[in-house]
Each structure stands twice: as structure tokens, then as C-alpha cells.
Point group: C2
Chain length 336, copies 2
DNA sequence: GGACTTTAGCAAAACGTTTTGCTAACCGGA
DNA sequence: TCCGGTTAGCAAAACGTTTTGCTAAAGTCC
């Protein structure tokens, strides 16, 4: 006996398929007693409406996707995985409560294979402005929303990650803790979070009369690249006493370089990073970081996408970021 | 202009829909020249076959799911997230190369909402033998494969994680490094990996004339529970000089407790854990762990599920686990 | 130059829903 | 008794594919 269809159920209940459909969808009134009989019977024979047949009729697959185009070494390596997956897990929950399945599009998915899959919409995590995934889905008329605004693309609804505010919060904190010469180590891609961070940093330097020192690293390089760059930076600029390193993998590398160079953290050199993931928590000393409220960000992104599917998109703000102070910047912070 | 259908393309190419279908699927020969014309035209007008229509006809959704029933605090908290997500990311890649989408079923998904989603099959990550997810999908006739065998369920095709071998490898290593009294701290659920680890441990103790000392912890407790339990354990058994702690979150806690109790790791107390994730790498000292080859495990699971869908399931072995020795057990291991 | 086989393609019937009229029965009011 | 309105339900047409026979036309063999 294969899966029962709406016809089987209709026969069993002695009504027409139409009535079954209405009983489930509620789009037309059905006699209460009949409806209950139908639902009970459905449970008994194990009937579940076929998502494909429904989708074919309604034009929706009931499936959305989430993707990040980060380089694989950053995205799938341990460093970025946390960030992306923390979002994905929350988004999946959020979607599921609306009877929508969330698919994972792995980084570097060969475009050709994406083609045949049908998603109602897609969430892009911090795409760059020229991201191939944007082009891909736009060509396919798949609605996009992004987590983090896309530079120059105001037409893509986004959850604003407040990166300017986040950066400013960290910089002010470093200053309050005593740093007078802060450098910035950042990824080279033109993600909005990095652009806004740079802007906030330049403004910060301006106000404090510092000369800005920005190091841009290829995201592919990961921890090791950051360690090398930081070694050189510290050698060239011995007066540095603060380091803003938004990418957590880079922060790990910077911390290692600081140790190697004999700088005491946080006494000689204060460090802060953006994503408050496992890396920040487990580093010694723990890395001062920012709680971005990713669970809520993910929920907002799902809601935003659904709103977009219904034709009423409206940009939305991430929850206010919250500084998590640890020993990498504040010697009085609790250990652990 | 809405999405072009096979009919539009057929008209444009001056052939019947049948021919289009064959041109794409290759199930019947089509004149090479005609086929090329069709494919070219398809690209031009932006035709993509509808996955739903296809699915409706063929009975496949082209979507598989991956789920873990780990308690949320363990699964979605930073501790287990790495393990699950490392698998999920690889599985997604693997599925995508076969034109299949991988959906994420978040831990603790309310069953009611799972109901309406149609998956061709599902991969369960280390389910317990009485896992509600198993019951759920079996009731729905959704084919299941699991990563890690399911105790008492030889009918569920599984990727054998070789947990007995893995445990033995770690125990032998601890002995070789000088441990004479090794305790085991393990999760309380009846996952095969834990059962096999216990069995291996008991056999190991037997051979070496040790009296086994097993602490079973509720997986919900996370790092803190492990820290508390380890504190008590070390106080009660001061002669302990080795600790096998397969769950990496527990291992973090155990390490903290060891430090707090003034035990030097690895000189007084050697420690090993199973999953070689961020935790093991970042701990100080680094935790000796096992490279389980999760990327390959995930691929195997996808292949296994696909084989099961085609009716030819056959259990399969994970790649041979590989010990990653770090300072938590071997003082001569390289730092970092 | 027949009798086969191969090749290239078409028509039509599924697949399991949702949606859109439509009908028949019933109700209350005038 | 008739009329408008409500209620409960049905029949049939989509939705966009894949699949199964079928038909011509062309090639192959003796």
C-alpha cells in the first residue's frame, strides 16, 4: 500500500476531494462534524498532503535556502562555520514553525547544480556587492534577502547588522580601556560590515587625532595570514596598543602574533573582535567580542524573506549589538 | 512574463514537450542537432524545469534532510554545533553534486510542523535507539539512514562510526603515555558511540587489571556539568591519571576542573576527547582528539541514503579514525 | 524489393493537489 | 408561497512535468 492520496481519503470519508482540501486549508467552510471525521480518518490511514502536488498548484515549493559565499577555507573551516551555522540553525527553526523547510547551500556550490533546485527564496549571508550568488538567483527570479546590507544594492531587502555601530562600540571600548593607537585588521572583500567598520574606524581616528592604520587581508588566508600580518604590523608599529580585528579567525591569529612578539594582552595591547563565537570564548585570554543576537537576526531574515514573497518587503534592523567584555581588552573582566 | 514552461520552450523550438523532456533527461535519444538547439533556446528564454512538476510525476522531491536529536543546549550550543554542522555542510555539498537539496531539521523541531514537509529521505546524526525522530519518519514511510549505528536496529542502514576502535585507540594512547588509572566520562543517552566506548573501556580495564570508573552525564548539562562531575571525581579518586571524555564539551569542562584541582595536564592527568573540533584545537593545552573524517562520513551518508532510495542499501564503514595527539596527553606534542 | 530494425518525434495519460463555478438543500421573512 | 441568502458539498479544470505507446521515415540485410 503506497501513500494514501486525497482521493483515497475522500473515498474513505465518503466526500469529494474538494471537501478534503477545504477541510485542511480552511479556505471554504466545512461542516464541523464532517471536518472532524476527515481529520480523524486522515490520521488513521496516515494521509499527508503531498507537498509537491500542492506546490505545483500554488507555485510555491515551501522551501527556502540559505547561502554564504565566503571562501571555503573561511566559511567551512572552523572559523566561519560557527557564524554561518549559528544563523542557519536559528533560521531553520524559524522557518519550520511556518511549515517551510530551510536548505543549506554550501559555499562554492557549483552554479550548474544549483540550477535545478527550486527555492521560493534565498537568504544570503553577508554577500559582497558583486557576489556571484546574487547574479545567479536574480537570473532565476528567485527572491533574495540578505543578512547585512549589500553595498550599492538598496533594492535587496536586508537585515541591517549595524556594523558601524558595532565597530564604534568596540573602538570606544578600546579607548576607554586605555588604547591610544589602534590599528584595524579587516577582510579585503567589500562586505558592508567591513566597509562600515572601516568608515567607523576612520572617523574614530579622526576624532582622536590618530593616524589610521588599516590592514586588509584576503579572507582565504585565515588564521595564519592574520598571524603573519600582525607580526609585521607590530614590528613596524611598536607603539600600537590596540587592535580591532572583526573576523574572529583573524583575531586568533593576531592574538598568537601578539604573544609571539612578547606583548602582554591586555596590558600592552588590547584586542577586540566581532563575532562572539567559540573562538572568542575559548581564546586565552578570552576575546572581547560583540553579541550580535544572531538567533534573532536569523528569525528576522526569515520573516523578511516571507514578507518579500508576499510582496511587502521592508528593511529591518538587527537587535542592538551588545559588547561582551573579556580579558583581551579588560584585565578586570571575569576569567573564562 | 512569468517563468517559461516546457510548453513555451516546445513552441519556441518547434518540437513537442516530449522531445524537450527527453533532451533534458536523456531517457530517449534525441537528434544531436535538435538537442543543442533546445538547450541553447532554453538558456536564452531562461527555462528551468519545475522541480515540483517533476517531483509530482516521479514521486521524488529532490530534497533530503539532516537532523540531530541532541538536546538543544548541546546540539545548538557551541559545543555540538560544530560536529553537526561540519557534517551538514559536507552533506550539503555532496547532495548538491547530485542535484539534491539538503534541508536542516533543527533540534527539537516540533513534530507537528515536520509533518507537512516532504523529504525523499533523512539522515539522522547519532540517534538514540528510542529516538522520537525515528518513530516520526518511520510513521511517514520516509527512508532513514543514520550516522552511527542505532542500537538494536540493524534494519536502519548506517555509516558505522567505528566507535569501539576509536575508543580503543584513545585508551591505548593514554596507556602508552603513562596513564595507569583511566576514568571514562560519557553522555547518558544510549547512542551507539557511547555504548561502544563503554564496552571498549571495560575491556581495556579488564586487560590492564584496572577497575573501571564510569561517569555518565546528562547531555543537557554541557560543559558546566562536566566540570562539576570531574571536580567530584578527582576529589574522590586522587589516583586517577587519565580521563577519556568523548564529548568535547564535557572535555572542556573536565580540563577546567583539572586545572582548578591543581592537576598538571598532561604530567599528572592525561586527557583525550573524540571530536577534533574547534574546542579540541583551541583548548590549552590542546586536546588530544580523533579525526573522524566527518567530511567523508557525510558523503557516505548521502550515498547510502541515495542507495536506499534505489532499494540497495548496504551498511558502510566510516574512514579509519586517526588520532590527533596534542599536549593534553603528550608533553612532546607540538604546541598549537 | 520486400522484411526488419533503428531513429526521431508526437499525443495523451498520468501524478495529487487547489480553485472556481455551480447545485441543491435549508432557513427566515414577507 | 415565493424570494433572497446562507450552507455544504461536488465536478472539472488547471499546475508542468514524465512516461508509454505509437507512427512515420530512413537505413540494413538478403
Amino acid at each position: 500500500m503506497s501513500k494514501p492520496t486525497i482521493i483515497d481519503l475522500a473515498k474513505a470519508a465518503g466526500v469529494s476531494p474538494t471537501t478534503i482540501s477545504h477541510a485542511f486549508s480552511g479556505r471554504r467552510p466545512v461542516d464541523t462534524e464532517t471536518k472532524e471525521r476527515i481529520l480523524k480518518l486522515a490520521r488513521e490511514i496516515g494521509y499527508h498532503p503531498s507537498s509537491m502536488a500542492r506546490g505545483l498548484r500554488s507555485g510555491r515549493t515551501g522551501t527556502i535556502a540559505i547561502a554564504s559565499s565566503m571562501p571555503f577555507s573561511v566559511a567551512a573551516g572552523p572559523s566561519r562555520l560557527g557564524f554561518l551555522m549559528e544563523i542557519a540553525a536559528s533560521a531553520a527553526m524559524s522557518a519550520l514553525t511556518r511549515n517551510i523547510a530551510l536548505c543549506l547551500i554550501p559555499p562554492l556550490a557549483p552554479e550548474s547544480n544549483l540550477a535545478s533546485l527550486g527555492f521560493d527564496g534565498v537568504i544570503l549571508v553577508e554577500p559582497t556587492s558583486k557576489d556571484p550568488l546574487i547574479a545567479h538567483f536574480e537570473a532565476r527570479h528567485t527572491p533574495i534577502v540578505s543578512i547585512g546590507k549589500v553595498a550599492g544594492r538598496t533594492d535587496i531587502p536586508a537585515v541591517d547588522l549595524r556594523s558601524h555601530e558595532t565597530a564604534r562600540m568596540m573602538l570606544d571600548h578600546l579607548r576607554d580601556m586605555g588604547s591610544r593607537q589602534v590599528a584595524l585588521i579587516v577582510g579585503a572583500a567589500d562586505r558592508t560590515s567591513q566597509l562600515e567598520t572601516e568608515a567607523a574606524y576612520v572617523a574614530f581616528c579622526d576624532e582622536g587625532g590618530m593616524s589610521p592604520r588599516i590592514v586588509r587581508l584576503d579572507e582565504d588566508g585565515g588564521e595564519q595570514a592574520a598571524q603573519d600580518a600582525t607580526r609585521d604590523l607590530l614590528a613596524a608599529s611598536p607603539h600600537l596598543d590596540g587592535l580591532l580585528v572583526p573576523v574572529d579567525a583573524f583575531a586568533s591569529g593576531a592574538l598568537a602574533a601578539a604573544h609571539a612578539a612578547g606583548r602582554r594582552v591586555p596590558q600592552d595591547l588590547r584586542l577586540a573582535t566581532r563575532y562572539d563565537g567559540l573562538r572568542a570564548k575559548l581564546a586565552r585570554p578570552g576575546l572581547t567580542a560583540v553579541d550580535l543576537g544572531l538567533a534573532e537576526v536569523a528569525s528576522l531574515a526569515v520573516e523578511l524573506l516571507l514578507a518579500r514573497l508576499d510582496g511587502t518587503p521592508a528593511n529591518v534592523m538587527a537587535p542592538r549589538p551588545r559588547l561582551v567584555v573579556r580579558r583581551s581588552s579588560d584585565p578586570t573582566a571575569p576569567a573564562g
